[in-house]
Symmetry: C2
Subunit: 219 residues, 2 copies
């Protein structure tokens, strides 16, 4: 495990601090769909994504969900160690969206490092500020961007992530990503189809005019 | 200026760090309506509210605004020093909602303290986590709480803050707090009036049945 790669501040830690992290960190591989953190229930620790993809989302009382952000290779997941920060008063669910190789640093160990090390604490601050920024972006999307723009952006992002224009995804799942009911998704997708931007078939959304989608996404 | 009151971690700072803060901090009194921070334009510094009330909000391209949270006596405003944190990628506007006595700690001074002091960095982390939690609460309200619940909650909160059931506030301003057009606010207020919960007159919303409003607010 090359911690220098994951922690830009690695060389600002003392030898003992480095030893504490590397001595307690555990490698773990999780299957697609594994729930890694569920609200305040558990405090797994800091997760470093070596390879794979995680999704952070929230869930309403009625069971509706909306994606907050995704984590990719080299990203660090802070909310799986949210017990470290007393002021975190919300519950986020973290699940593996693809098979993912992780490094887990126990929450207690990381907490001890934060208490001693200003560089580690400031680095943690930057991670939180990044996630905060992603949530603010989402809030603005929801408040001010009309649904056609959000859906177009989502399809393009999925296509880029999956490396294909033929997306195996149901309207139900798109809805849960975007926080909208399935019916709303279906209606808009049919509109996109009628405009020649996508072709719909069972369980698949095929992007046929990415340029037009991009124009909608950019407003 | 008694910094112990504002900074729970004051006694974990060194004598030199304390001196840097108290030597550079400036007292300032601002009138209601003063804009203290506007996006990434400026980096005023850390603001401590001695007495008064600040509002943090965001603004859409189309000029619509929505309140993110408010700051009261003893609260610390971090985003007015957002230049300290490189990963803050969003723009917040901070304005004085009442006449407010502030202490301003220059951004550069606070940045220097953060670089040296783990307690200060962790404390800053907790402030950010609190604000993040407030924004997450707002996001959940917007996503999942219907507008009648949000409006009822807003009126009760205003009444508690102002210490009166007779609120001098326009529908336009309520709309800008809640991120809804004025028409939507007016329609719902008329519904509340028809249900005997409020009485409307020019520029005033009088709460006549707080208990019923509370039931709506709690869903």
């Amino acid at each position: 495990m090359e911690f220098e790669t994951y922690f830009p501040i690695w060389n600002k830690l003392t030898a003992i601090q480095k030893q504490k992290i590397s001595g307690s960190a555990v490698e773990r591989t999780v299957k697609k769909g594994t729930m890694l953190h569920n609200g305040s229930m558990d405090c797994t620790g800091l997760l470093i994504v070596r390879h794979g993809q995680l999704r952070a989302y929230i869930l309403s009382d009625a069971g509706r969900e909306i994606s907050l952000y995704r984590l990719f290779d080299l990203d660090i997941c802070l909310f799986s160690a949210s017990c470290i920060l007393h002021s975190i008063q919300f519950e986020v669910i973290i699940e593996a969206e693809k098979e993912t190789d992780l490094i887990v640093i126990p929450a207690e160990v990381y907490k001890g490092i934060l208490e001693e090390s200003a560089p580690a604490a400031n680095f943690t601050n930057e991670i939180m500020a990044s996630r905060f920024s992603e949530v603010m972006w989402l809030l603005e999307q929801i408040l001010w961007k009309s649904f056609d723009r959000r859906l177009a952006g989502f399809l393009l992002e999925e296509a880029a992530l999956e490396g294909t224009d033929s997306l195996k995804i149901t309207h139900e799942i798109i809805g849960s990503h975007l926080g909208n009911p399935r019916e709303v998704v279906t209606r808009m997708l049919r509109y996109f189809q009628s405009e020649g931007m996508v072709r719909l078939s069972r369980g698949t959304v095929e992007i046929t005019d990415p340029e037009k989608l991009r124009r909608i996404s950019n407003g």
